[in-house]
């Protein structure tokens, strides 16, 4: 059978030599390793005072985007819920009434939209599935809590505020930005 990697070693049960049996050379070697580590820089980040730098494409707390005019982009199509491998997303759709055009972008919207942050595995498939560029994962941390109920995030926590937009340009790949330039497509109108 061919080896999968070159790292496998052939083990043998041969007798230890005298130097190995008195342990001392091996102990000396080990002791040298540990003393070397004493002078290495520690990997610890003193958390509350200092935060570790996030990766540019960190996948954290979701955001439901609004469009340029401040209307919610989500149309409650349910593709994110279908794509979610952890089944963390639930929503209830509703029809837009007259006079709500500035609130919701299209005729249908999500009356409730909930993500269970304890189920969510932050894979980003919801954002990939979304045809309306409504849901994105951001570099914000989902904060800890004592109860389970508080981890079911509703629209109050997910929809971005009109006056405090959340930048998600880092989550959009080059291909997406290229695609968005094609103005003849209905998606980009």
């Amino acid at each position: 059978m061919q080896a999968l990697t070159q790292r496998s070693k052939i083990v043998s049960d041969k007798k230890m030599t005298f130097l190995e049996r008195i342990y001392l050379p091996a102990i000396l070697g080990g002791v040298m390793i540990t003393i070397k580590h004493m002078f290495k820089r520690s990997a610890t980040v003193r958390y509350p005072e200092k935060e570790r730098e996030f990766s540019e494409i960190y996948r954290g707390h979701h955001v439901l985007k609004r469009d340029d005019k401040g209307a919610e982009r989500c149309t409650a199509c349910g593709l994110c819920a279908v794509s979610c491998p952890a089944e963390a997303i639930t929503m209830v759709a509703a029809e837009r009434n007259k006079g709500e055009e500035n609130l919701y972008r299209e005729e249908k919207y999500a009356a409730t939209y909930e993500i269970n942050m304890l189920r969510c595995i932050f894979c980003g498939l919801c954002e990939e599935a979304c045809p309306k560029e409504a849901i994105f994962l951001t570099d914000r941390i989902v904060v800890t809590d004592y109860g389970r109920d508080s981890f079911i995030y509703g629209k109050d926590k997910l929809v971005e505020p009109v006056d405090a937009r959340i930048d998600v340009s880092k989550r959009q790949t080059k291909e997406v930005l290229e695609f968005k330039k094609l103005k003849q497509l209905t998606h980009n109108k």
Binding site: I27, G30, T34, H37, T44
Partner: protein, 347 residues
């Protein structure tokens, strides 16, 4: 006479306080050393650099619920940790913490008592110490505790023999059992007499002694009496609150005392190189000597920790093999060779 009495009382209290202080800060040092060796930073929240951590730990232990199992033998259950702590503190009595200070024509020796069987006394008291573990482990009425206690006593017996033999070589060289006289024997410099530290004459004795000291203190790699992976907590599984604290604390005191004894027996005690050639006042040399002794002690405490965070635990059969088949014959051989050499040179 009265002034010497008062001085002795002060010295007793000082040694007691220093032992406790060193034990408390050994727990802190242990965690820091472990952290540094594992590329971490260790406790740093309580006070600057976490220096108040031992106080916080002690306070925590005091506040914990005190549990005495209903199936245990209550008297022995309480006696165990007390005995362990008392014996740990008793050994500091014979160690010469320095030479002597002279004030107003009166000589104050920095040693609580210089009994002429100093080493034997230390050995005797340390052997009683294992009763603390045994009684505590047995009285818990818990099989893990009992196994830990049995291991502790078996280990103590196996390693004390080799340790004793390694000390006998020193006794043969110096012709005395008093720790003070052994210290004096190692005092020397360039001026006329060349006395080296005993480790130069007896490297094998030192090696055997330090290995046995690890076993006697139940320190890794010989911490089988309390090995967490097999025995939950070993002999102190059932102990809680300050009774557990006493066990843990006494162990660090034992470590401090064994470091002091190793320094005294093999590394010159309070002597440091060229101490008689500096031309300083005797009192200043004494103080410098005490500082030198504590430097050596702290180094050996660090060494204990260094080894602990380097070497994995021995298996029980390996431990017994090493003790009976390795160290014991080696120490006897060392004894015979030392005897032969002494006989040859003294003829």
């Amino acid at each position: 006479m009265m002034s010497i009495f008062i001085f002795k009382v002060i010295l007793v209290v000082a040694v007691f306080a220093i032992s406790l202080f060193m034990a408390a800060y050994s727990t802190y040092a242990e965690r820091k050393v472990a952290a540094f060796m594992q590329d971490r930073i260790g406790p740093d929240r309580a006070g600057p650099f976490g220096l108040l951590q031992p106080l916080a730990d002690g306070l925590k232990l005091f506040m914990k619920e005190e549990i005495i199992p209903s199936v245990s033998n209550k008297f022995l259950f309480v006696l165990g940790p007390c005995l362990f702590m008392i014996t740990a503190l008793m050994t500091g009595v014979v160690i010469p913490w320095g030479d002597s200070l002279t004030f107003g024509g009166v000589e104050y020796k920095l040693q609580i008592t210089d009994i002429n069987i100093g080493i034997l006394y230390v050995f005797g008291v340390v052997s009683i110490g294992v009763y603390g573990i045994m009684i505590g482990g047995w009285a818990s009425n818990n099989k893990f505790s009992l196994l830990g206690a049995i291991r502790a006593s078996a280990q103590m017996i196996s390693y004390e023999i080799a340790m004793g033999f390694s000390i006998i070589t020193l006794v043969m060289m110096t012709g005395t059992l008093s720790l003070k006289e052994i210290s004096v024997f190692q005092s020397g410099g360039i001026d006329g007499h060349w006395n080296f530290w005993n480790v130069v004459y007896q490297p094998f004795s030192f090696l055997i002694f330090i290995i046995c000291a690890f076993a006697e203190c139940n320190r890794a790699p010989f911490d089988l009496p309390e090995c967490e992976t097999e025995l939950v907590g070993g002999y102190h599984t059932e102990f809680s609150s300050m009774k557990l604290g006493l066990y843990l604390f006494a162990e660090y005191i034992n470590m401090f005392i064994s470091s002091a004894i190793i320094s005294t027996l093999f590394f010159g005690g309070y002597n440091f190189p060229f101490m008689h050639d500096l031309g300083l006042d005797a009192n200043i040399i004494t103080i410098l000597g005490t500082i030198a002794l504590f430097t050596k002690i702290i180094f050996f405490i660090f060494f204990f920790m260094w080894i602990r965070w380097t070497i994995p635990r021995f298996r029980y059969d390996q431990l017994m093999n090493l003790g009976w088949k390795g160290l014991l014959p080696l120490s006897i051989l060392n004894l015979v060779i030392t005897g032969a050499v002494i006989l040859y040179f003294n003829k």
